[in-house]
Symmetry: C3
Subunit: 397 residues, 3 copies
C-alpha cells in the first residue's frame, strides 16, 4: 500500500504533461494568427504594463490641510479709513482647508432687537390686514406703518438693506493677499508620508517665493489675485458678488521611483459658476453669508450685521500612489494569457470554418471517439479511418 502511494507520488513528480499541438504551415493563417498574437502581446506589454502600469497596486492618501492668509485690506467709506487684517476678513480664523476671504460687505450697524418697518419695496401694505402675523420669512407684528407704507416686523432693527452691492468692491486690496498652504498626506498602504513642503522648499525659499505654474510650481504661497486668475474668474466680478474656487492639490505618485519625485501639483477651478463652461455655469453664482458681531451698549444687546461677499477657497486634495505589487502583476499576466487563448480561438475559427482546406485541418486537430455510432452523421465519414484505429487501440484494453 505504502509503495503504491510512493509510486503515485513519484509518477506525479517524474511526469509532465504538455499539450499536443498541430503546427499548421499555412501562410495566410500563419500571418493572420501571428499578427493577432503579436497584437495581444503588444497590448499586454505596451498598454497594460507600460502605459497603464498594470503591475502596480494603487492607494489614495489620508490628508490634512492647514492654511494661512496674509495681507492687510484697506477701505475708505465716506472718509472713514479702516484697516482689515486677517482676524477680520478670514472665516473661520483657525486655518481650515475650506475658508472664505471677505472681499466686499454690507454693514448694518447698531442693530437692536425691536419693531421697525420693513424696507420700502418689500411687504408694501395699505392696511393692517395685509400684514399677517407669523409669515415665514419675517416675523410680522400685524401693523401697517403709514409712514413707510410697509408692514412692521419684529427683527433686529434697523432692517438690513442689501439691495445695492458696493461697486467697486470695498476690499479690492484682497487681490494682493497671499495664501500659505501646508498639506500633509499619508499613503497608508505604502506607509509613505509626504508634505507639500518637499525637498528644496525650505524656510528661506518660502520667505521669498510666490506660486507660479511654470516658474515656482512648488511654492506653497499664492497670491489671491493669481488664484482667481488661474481659475478663470475676473477678480473685480468675483470680489463684488463672491464666488467659490477649488484649489486641487494633486498627488499622483509613482512610488517605484524615489520618493522625492512625489510632489504636489496645484490646479485651480471655479466650483460653482465657472464662466465659459456651460455645464458649470449654472443657476446660482455668487457667494455670500451673514455674520454678526454682538456687543452690549448701555445694557442693551446690540449687533453689527455683516453681509459678507467673499471668495470661498476649498483646498481639495486628490491623491493616487502606485507601487509595484506582485498580485496585480500576476493578475495582469494571467488574464493576458487568457486573452492569448481568445486569439487562438479566433484563429481556430478561421482555420476550421473559413479556409478551403478546413476539413483537412479539422482532421489534424481533432481525434474522434466514435463509440456512439448513432451520433456520427455522414459529414464525418472522412474521420472513419482514424476512428477505426482508435477502436482498435481501445479494444486492446
Amino acid at each position: 500500500m505504502k509503495s503504491q502511494i510512493s509510486n503515485v507520488v513519484s509518477d506525479f513528480f517524474f511526469e509532465y504533461e504538455t499539450q499536443r499541438q498541430v503546427l499548421v504551415r499555412n501562410r495566410r493563417v500563419g500571418v493572420v494568427c501571428r499578427l493577432i498574437q503579436l497584437g495581444v502581446l503588444g497590448y499586454i506589454i505596451g498598454w497594460v504594463f507600460i502605459y497603464e502600469k498594470g503591475y502596480q497596486s494603487t492607494d489614495t492618501a489620508v490628508s490634512s490641510v492647514y492654511t494661512k492668509m496674509k495681507g492687510v485690506g484697506y477701505t475708505n467709506r465716506s472718509g472713514l479709513e479702516q484697516i482689515w487684517d486677517v482676524a477680520d476678513y478670514v472665516f473661520p480664523s483657525q486655518g481650515d482647508a475650506s475658508f472664505v476671504v471677505m472681499t466686499n460687505f454690507i454693514l448694518t450697524e447698531n442693530q437692536t432687537m425691536g419693531k421697525c418697518p420693513e424696507l420700502p419695496g418689500k411687504d408694501n401694505c395699505s392696511t393692517d390686514a395685509e400684514c399677517e402675523e407669523g409669515r415665514f420669512k419675517r416675523h410680522m407684528t400685524g401693523l401697517c406703518l403709514k409712514q413707510t407704507g410697509t408692514c412692521e416686523v419684529l427683527a433686529w432693527c434697523p432692517v438690513e438693506n442689501d439691495a445695492t452691492i458696493p461697486d467697486p468692491p470695498l476690499l479690492m486690496s484682497a487681490e494682493n493677499y497671499t495664501l500659505f498652504i501646508k498639506n500633509s498626506i499619508t499613503f497608508p498602504l505604502f506607509d509613505v508620508t509626504r508634505s507639500n513642503l518637499v525637498e528644496g522648499i525650505d524656510g528661506k525659499y518660502i520667505s521669498k517665493c510666490l506660486y507660479h505654474p511654470d516658474n515656482d510650481p512648488l511654492c506653497p504661497i499664492m497670491r489671491l489675485g493669481d488664484i482667481v486668475k488661474f481659475s478663470g474668474f475676473n477678480f473685480t466680478t468675483i470680489a463684488k458678488v463672491g464666488g467659490a474656487i477649488g484649489i486641487l492639490v494633486d498627488w499622483t505618485c509613482n512610488l517605484d521611483r524615489a520618493v522625492r519625485h512625489c510632489k504636489p501639483f496645484y490646479t485651480f477651478h471655479g466650483l460653482y459658476g465657472n464662466p465659459g463652461e456651460t455645464d458649470r455655469a449654472r443657476a446660482s453664482v455668487g457667494y455670500n453669508f451673514r455674520y454678526a458681531k454682538h456687543y452690549m451698549e448701555e445694557g442693551q444687546a446690540k449687533r453689527t450685521l455683516i453681509k459678507v461677499f467673499g471668495i470661498r477657497i476649498d483646498i481639495i486634495v486628490q491623491s493616487l500612489a502606485r507601487k509595484f505589487d506582485i498580485i496585480p502583476t500576476l493578475t495582469a499576466i494571467g488574464s493576458g494569457v487568457g486573452i492569448f487563448g481568445v486569439a487562438t480561438i479566433v484563429c481556430d475559427l478561421v482555420l476550421l470554418y473559413v479556409l478551403p482546406k478546413r476539413e483537412f485541418y479539422k482532421n489534424m486537430k481533432y481525434k474522434y471517439t466514435d463509440t456512439h455510432q448513432q451520433d456520427v452523421d455522414s459529414e464525418e465519414g472522412s474521420t472513419e479511418k482514424e476512428a477505426d484505429t482508435i477502436e482498435k487501440e481501445a479494444a486492446k484494453e
Copy 2:
C-alpha cells in the same frame, strides 16, 4: 547566416500552432461539460459584464459643498420677544458642509470672571478641607461657602445652570427653515464635472421648489422639518436635546450614458443614535456645545454663554462613476477564459477518473513517452504499443 534568420522569421510567421483535441462523443460527459461551459459563459456575460458592468473602470469624485440656511426663528421667553436670524442660529456662519442649526439653548448672561459658589448639588461641602484647590473640572479657591453649602470656584460667574433643558424647545420654528445645498463634483479620471443644479434645475425652479423624494427629488432646497422626518427622528425630541443628521448626496453615474443622466440622489440618516436601529442607537445621543459672546461693559470683560442644542447636519458626498475601459474589459475576458479552463479541468477529471471507459479516454487524451522504462509500472501495460511506436520514431533521429 542572414538567410537562416530570415528562415526562422518566415517560419515563425507562416506557421501557426493549435492544440490537438479529442472530440469525445459521449452523451453524459458532453451534456455535463456543455452545461458547465454554458454556466461559465453565462456567468461571464450575464454577471460580470451585464450585471456588474465589469467592462467599466470606476472613479470616485472630489467634491465641494456649500450650504445656506434660510428662515427666521422666534422666541418668547417671559415676555421677551426675540428674533433669531441666520447669523444667530447657524454655526459656523460661512456655509460649510458640516454645520449646526440651533434649536434650543440655555443662556447665561452677564458672566464675569470672578469667584462664586458652585451650583447647589455639585461639590456640596461643610468644611473648607473638602474644597481642594486645583481639582480637574473646576478651579476651586479652597473655601466652603456657608450660604450655599457649596465650594467657591474661580470661574465665569454666575455659574451656568444647565440642569433643566427648555421643553418645548425654544426654537420650534426651526422646523420651517430651509436648507439650500450647492454641490460640485469632479471625477478626475473621466474629466467630468457636475453640479447638483443639473439640467432643468434653473433659477426659476429653485425659487419655488421644495425637496420631496418622489415629486421633487432634484430640488436642492430642503425644509429642516422634512430632513429630520426623512432621517427617522421626531422633530420635538431632536430639537430639544440636539442630534446629528447626515445628508448623503449619492452620485452613482454610468458615464457610458449621456452625462445628463448623472444626477445626485439624496438620502437622510441619523448619524449617532438613530432610533430603532440597535447598532446605531448607542451610548451617546444628543448634540450640544457651548459658545460665548464676549463684550465689554464699563471696562469689564463680560460674556454671554450659550449652551446650544442643535441639529448638526453633515453633507456627505458619496460618488462612484463607471465608464467603459479596455483594461477591465480584457481582464474580465482573460480571466473568464481562465475559468473556462477550470471547467475543462473539471470535465477531464470526470472523463478520466469517473467514467467506466476512463482507460479508453486516457489513451485518447494522452500519448506517453516511456523512454525511462523503470518508471513504467504494470498499470500502464496498455500503453506499451504506443510507447514502442514512439521508441521507433525517436530512434530515427
Copy 3:
C-alpha cells in the same frame, strides 16, 4: 432543415472536446515542472487567497465625526487670575472633526482703528520718505515718527507685539483636558453602519474610561497630554508654539466575520513637523492664528486681538472593509489558471529547447501539416515520415 439544426444542437451537447496531451516521463523535466506548478498553486492559494484575501471585494466608508473637549484652563498673568473654559479655548466651538485647542496666546487688548507708530525694529525710519504709502503688509500714512523712530501706520492700535511668545505656555493645564470622539461610518457597498461606540462601550464605561492603547484601546475619551505624547511631541514645546496632530481612526474590517469584530483603531501622528522623522520635520513648524473679539466702548468699535498658539487636532478616518464576493474570487481563479499556463510555457521551453532529447519531444508534441513543402528546410527532415502520413490522410478527403 429543422432536423439538421437539431442535429447540430445535439452534436454540440453530446460532444466534448479535451486537449490531447503528451505525458513526458522524464525525471528532470517532471520535477522542475511540478515544482513550478506547485509554486504557482501555492502562490494562488496561499498568497492571493489566504494572505491577500483575493476572494473579497473592498469598500471605503463615508464617515462623520463629532468631537467634544472637556476641562478648564487657568492662567495667572501678573496677578490676574482667569479661567478658560471650552467656549474660550476651542476653535471652532461646534465640535468639528478638525479643531484647535488654545494652549498659549498673546493678547492685545483695547485695539481701536487709528494711526500709531510701528513697533521698534520694524520699519525703522529717519525721514518721511522712507515710509512710502501703500506698502503691502502695512498701510503706511507716510509719516516718520521722531519719538519711536518708526513709520506711522493706519491699523488697529496699539499694534500687536508678538516678538516674545509666553514661556512657559500660559495654558499648561490644557494637558489635562479630555477629548471625546464620536465617529459614525457607513460602508455603502455592504450596507454596514458602525459607530466607534461599539458593543460594550456604553454610557457607564464612557463615564469613567480614559483611552490607553493597551488597556482601553476602544475608549473614545482621550487626555490631550496623552494624545501629544502618543504622537511623539513634547507637550511643553507644542503648547508654546502650537502644532498639528492627526488622530487616525482606522476601520479595517473583515465583514466575513461577525460585524462586532469591526472596531476602530486609533493612532496618533504629528502632521507637520514631526520630530525625528527627517521627511516630516520641515520648513514650517508651529501653529498659530489670529482671532479678534469685537466690542463697543463709549460708541467706539474696539477689539481684543488674540494670537492663538494651539494644538490643532484633525480626526482622520481611514477605512477599508472586505467581504467575500464572487467576482474577485473568480477573477483570481481565472487569472491563476492563466499563470498556470505561463508555467507550462516555461516547461515547454525547457523541454523543446534545452533537453538533449529535444527533437524527440518536439515530434511528440507537434504534428506538422507540411502542405507547403517550400517552407520545410533541412532541419525538419526528421518530421518527414509523419508529414507523409498526414499527406496521405489529407489525400483521402
